[in-house]
């Protein structure tokens, strides 16, 4: 516990940690302001095809929809914000030389690695929670409540407002799980290098590569796609399907947990045997 508190103190004493919080808040306020100013035009453009046949009643541009749009926009940038801190957890110590002092203390390397990992996870959870709470709170205050209209390329789903809080809750939990994979991956890479930038760049490169493979409709990639963690990270969107596919959600959760275990184990093994004298 003392080690975790110490690691958390180190994380929160670095200015880069606050970049994530700052950028999340700026993006939330920017999107909410933009939608408040011209959200109706945005909706008109999207719902133009329906407006020929229907009159749409109800508060469509409500707090839940605004939060959903923010979540959809920010979730793509979140891995970078996570890797910015977690990629520095071990390599940062190596580059500044403090790793030698840290490892001369009586705590085992496993305990140190675990405390760093758990601190990284807490930081990851905190940015997701801040994103969720602030976007929902501001959204509901500014735009009120109502059903959520989920826009898909070939249609829309209307989720009733009483069904939304638990769906958002599940989404944030799933986002934390997905970003935990990113945090563990960057920490694993961080054990191999002695500078802070490489783990961040490598993590992002992997995510971009996997996302491209996942997005491209090439039959060759069909075989690889189910094994990529990026494929499962975006399953949060399925929380907003009228009929929840629990099997798919469980499967993706298990795949993500396996990724965390593997990345953790590789990172821990390398850290345990890391030669800090050279």
């Amino acid at each position: 516990m003392k080690l975790i508190t110490f690691e958390l103190y180190k994380i929160f004493s670095k200015p880069r940690t606050y970049i994530a919080y700052g950028s999340i808040l700026i993006i939330i306020f920017l999107i909410e302001f933009a939608l408040k100013a011209s959200g109706e035009e945005y909706l008109d453009f999207i719902l133009n095809t329906f407006k020929d046949s229907f009159v749409l009643e109800g508060n469509i541009l409500n707090g839940y929809m605004v939060s959903f749009i923010i979540l959809q926009t920010l979730i793509i940038q979140m891995p970078l914000l996570v890797a910015l801190v977690t990629g520095d957890l071990i390599s940062g110590e190596a580059s500044s030389g403090t790793i030698k002092i840290l490892l001369t203390k009586p705590n085992s390397r496993s305990a140190i690695f675990f405390s760093k990992w758990i601190s990284g996870e807490l930081y990851t959870a905190s940015i997701v929670m801040i994103l969720g709470i602030i976007s929902l709170l501001c959204g509901v205050l500014l735009f009120g409540i109502g059903d959520l209209m989920v826009l898909k390329s070939d249609g829309v789903e209307i989720i009733q407002s009483q069904d939304l809080i638990w769906r958002f809750g599940l989404t944030f939990c799933f986002a934390i799980l997905g970003l935990s994979v990113v945090a563990t991956l960057s920490m694993m890479i961080s054990t191999y290098v002695d500078n802070s930038i490489s783990p961040i760049i490598l993590t992002m490169a992997i995510i971009i590569l996997f996302t491209i493979i996942g997005t491209m409709d090439v039959p060759l990639f069909d075989f690889i796609r189910p094994y990529l963690f990026t494929t499962h990270m975006i399953i949060w969107k399925n929380m907003f399907d009228q009929q929840l596919d629990f099997l798919l959600i469980w499967k993706s959760s298990i795949v993500l947990i396996i990724h965390i275990i593997v990345f953790y184990w590789v990172g821990w093994y390398h850290f345990k045997h890391k030669d800090i004298l050279n």
């Binding site: 329906f50 020929d52 046949s53 229907f54 009159v55 749409l56 390329s153 070939d154 209307i158 975006i234």
Partner: protein, 223 residues
């Protein structure tokens, strides 16, 4: 005996005179019957079966105020037919504003209905209005409305408890819809494979409205 023939003759005359009602008179008698209603409030349960739109049933409240103010209010999002159900009454109220032609007879909901085509004489948004009217009860069982701006809409009216007032217990709207398409970048399924309920055949959707607890001719301030 003579009296019997006399009564029979009178009844025959009445029967012929009823049958001899012009299409315009039939339409007008339905309108007149509905004109007795100044306002109403009711509860409505809506069921949606719309291609490309996946949504659950909803409960709402419906308000009507003479001559054609009609509003459905709900706490959530509703997809409602663009044509107000009483829009056609604006046209039908003025007998000089249209030409009515009796084209056929058809059994609708086990009722013998007259099919009357109503063509506006002036330039209107409504191009054609096809009515299925049971003239004995002066009730419209079906309306097909073709408009310039919103295409064609078909409404089926089912009567029950409020038949005397000419108010339906159930209405089913069949609506022509455009294919929904938005850019993938604006949608949430960048690499999604799941599809929303697809249309089968023609792109038409239905909205069913079940009305209960009508409160007729009471002050309506909601619209």
């Amino acid at each position: 005996m003579k009296m019997k023939y006399y009564i029979g003759f009178i009844l025959l005359c009445i029967a012929f005179s009823v049958d001899a009602q012009s299409p315009k008179q039939i339409v007008h008698s339905c309108v007149k019957k509905f004109e007795l209603i100044n306002s109403y409030k009711a509860k409505v349960h809506l069921d949606f079966d719309l291609p490309d739109i996946n949504m659950k049933s909803r409960d709402a409240k419906v308000y009507y105020k003479k001559p054609n103010k009609f509003k459905i209010k709900s706490q959530g999002i509703l997809f409602l037919p663009k044509q107000n159900p009483y829009e056609s009454f604006d046209l039908l109220r003025d007998t000089n504003a249209y030409t009515a032609v009796l084209v056929n007879e058809e059994i609708v909901q086990q009722k013998k209905c007259k099919i009357i085509l109503v063509v506006p004489t002036k330039q209107e948004d409504i191009i054609l209005c096809k009515l299925w009217i049971e003239d004995r009860n002066q009730l419209i069982y079906k309306i097909q409305l073709t408009t310039k701006s919103n295409g064609t809409i078909l409404a089926d009216y089912y009567y029950g408890s409020y038949i005397k007032s000419g108010l339906p217990d159930k209405t089913i709207y069949e609506i022509e819809m455009n294919k929904f398409k938005i850019p993938k970048a604006l949608a949430v399924d960048l690499n999604g494979k799941k599809k929303v309920k697809k249309s089968t055949g023609a792109n038409t959707g239905t909205i069913q409205m079940l009305f209960t607890e009508y409160q007729i001719n009471i002050p309506v301030t909601e619209i």
